[in-house]
Symmetry: C2
Subunit: 404 residues, 2 copies
């Protein structure tokens, strides 16, 4: 019997009727003779509601208690789905993180799975049972509940596929699959049939919401093929697989974007070795992530401007940090812009298509969109533009790279 992992997200389990629908999907797969491990998220909205409750109790709500609190959401859906499967005459039971156990490190709210015990669940599914796993959760060796961070039940699904050596890992969600871009930004967005781990990782990291980067990364490291599909349609979805298994590599597979970027320019610093370190060291120490960096030197080579981008939410903290270190950095002034979007084109075939970079810039120039910063990797090019240009930029690039 083929062992498979089926993961259902919060929007697929958001109501009693949807839970019943999911039970029927699982039953169909069971009837086809599969050994099934189901991984569930909390009902949509529940995790945020619990977070808000914690937040209204304390702005510094304890991380360990927060994990205990949040893990209750998946406890609810795993037991409800098991009950729904029982009602269809299917042997099923729920497993919570501690019952398995899913052992994690003690990095609460963003824990890493170290080990999953398989004995009991393997026995259960080999005896015709469906195991329903509460995703997103584990325990430390001290028996405290941990959660895996944003999108953690995707991570749970991939980890179960890995530790149980299943044939496949299917992520059921409320969209058809991975799309060339966000359909709310461009109605011509098309479903991608196959995408490589690397491309998907870039897409997810750069703003595509269908899967969390950490889950994609884990599937890439262990070469666990993922199949993203819709709970609400029979369509074929998107396969996330090894680049070697993709025949026709397009130059550009998809376009991602992320809002909420801010750009800071430190103007008039003395251009000498170590100045960048003087700027970025205190920022890093404050746990602020730097994204893009540009350093311009003046013609005489004596004065430089350092420009970099960060998450908009970190702007205030970053400006404070720089001002505190004004003496050490020795700059003239600071300017910033916090209404910027990063638009990225992603494609594993890019490296073999030399024209991609200038095509991208020409396409944006034709639309009179000013590029404020650029960063590239082997399989993506990101540009920073004004928020107001986002839709126009995506539309132009979608046409230029023949994704329509």
């Amino acid at each position: 019997m083929e062992k498979i992992v089926l993961k259902f997200g919060g929007t697929s389990l958001g109501t009693i009727d949807k839970i019943k629908k999911v039970a029927n999907i699982v039953k169909n797969r069971k009837d086809k003779g599969n050994s099934i491990i189901v991984v569930v998220s909390a009902m949509s909205g529940v995790t945020n509601d619990l977070k808000e409750k914690a937040n209204s109790i304390s702005k510094n709500f304890d991380d360990i208690e927060l994990d205990t609190l949040l893990s209750s959401g998946e406890q609810v859906t795993s037991s409800l789905l098991s009950g729904a499967l029982n009602d269809l005459g299917i042997k099923a039971r729920s497993w919570l993180g501690w019952q398995i156990p899913v052992l994690t490190d003690n990095n609460h709210t963003a824990a890493k799975i170290l080990k999953i015990r398989t004995t009991e669940i393997l026995k259960f599914i080999s005896e015709d049972g469906v195991a329903v796993i509460a995703g997103f959760q584990g325990i430390t060796k001290n028996y405290r509940i941990t959660t895996l961070g944003r999108g953690g039940s995707d991570l749970s699904a991939v980890a179960f596929a890995k530790f149980f050596e299943t044939e496949s890992c299917e992520i059921y969600t409320d969209v058809e699959g991975v799309l060339t871009t966000d359909p709310s930004m461009n109605k011509n967005a098309k479903k991608i049939d196959k995408i490589s781990y690397e491309e998907m990782l870039e897409m997810a990291s750069l703003g595509a919401k269908v899967m969390q980067p950490s889950a994609v990364q884990m599937s890439m490291l262990d070469d666990i093929p993922i199949h993203v599909k819709s709970t609400f349609s029979e369509k074929s979805g998107t396969k996330i697989i090894s680049e070697n298994d993709i025949d026709n590599k397009k130059a550009v597979t998809g376009i991602a974007y992320s809002k909420d970027n801010a750009k800071i320019s430190i103007i008039g610093v003395i251009d000498k070795p170590g100045v960048a370190a003087d700027v970025f060291e205190p920022i890093g120490e404050n746990n602020i992530n730097i994204d893009m960096v540009i350093q311009n030197t003046s013609l005489d080579g004596k004065v430089a401007n350092i420009t970099f981008t960060i998450k908009q939410e970190d702007l205030k903290k970053t400006l404070n940090t720089i001002e505190k270190n004004k003496k050490k950095i020795n700059y003239k002034k600071i300017s910033y812009n916090d209404k910027l979007t990063k638009v990225s084109i992603i494609g594993a075939g890019m490296i073999a298509s030399p024209g991609v970079t200038h095509k991208m810039f020409r396409s944006l120039a034709n639309e009179k969109i000013n590029i404020l910063a650029i960063s590239t990797s082997e399989i993506k090019i990101s540009v920073l533009v004004e928020d107001s240009h986002t839709k126009k930029a995506i539309k132009a690039l979608h046409t230029t790279f023949k994704l329509n």
Copy 2:
């Protein structure tokens, strides 16, 4: 340091503001130097909401999954309250049933606590920590979650008081304490300062809602004094203690009532040994509880009528059972009335006050209230009356026995 158990019910934890209030109550007690174990219920409404969800998924929702589902409610309040205590600068942590563990039998949805491990919690509270226990829940030796049935967090509180040998067990609720009767039935209801276990057990069994009978029974068996008090006032509440510790035993301490009784009369059965067994055996086999029983024999001693009372919700099932056994029982006809209330007077001093019975009947007769059935024990007298007479009966008895 005095060890105490403080238990807070769902109405005391129903909102974020109430949880903060409870945290302040706990802090006050901590500041006075107590070692504190807090036991919490789920937020009011949550357990019923989860039950409804299970019920809309399946009319026969699996008991084990139901327990997993329901236990999430106390998981939420225990972590929220711990977070609230941390926010007040108090060292506190939540403990779920499985983390302690609270070992129960495997009678899911109504499990019995067998053992509570104390080591870790004792260490924590002796090191100035407040232990916040998710009430209502335990685990079987197979690591499945159990719940303790209706009012289960009261049971948890008494069990923690027992296993940790605490000085007291305080039940915080939304009323001032135990009242002489339901104030919605008689606005003259007064708070009782002290009540014996036995009296409280009868009060609770006969309809008073402030504590569940099973929790009172457990406190009685282990002589664990309980102090019922309000979360929302500073008043002194009610002490539930051993009868020996009560000086002035009143003939009648309180008046309880329960609606939803039904009375069935089986008319014209042959009066021979074994006839009552023929009637009640099949009913018992269908898990229907019989409350009061009256057997009248005709003057010639040949024909009898058997009358008994049951819960209204069991009426249909009981009638079906009797009709199925018509041949064996051999009766003429059945009559029934399903709109009846049982009104009970309770008092440990009753046994020393011979006039109580006739005073009760006279008081009801004066109000022209017909008594349909009677049952008595050493410390209570219950009468069955028409639903419509309930308020009038309680008012009359409240005056007759000087409870105003």
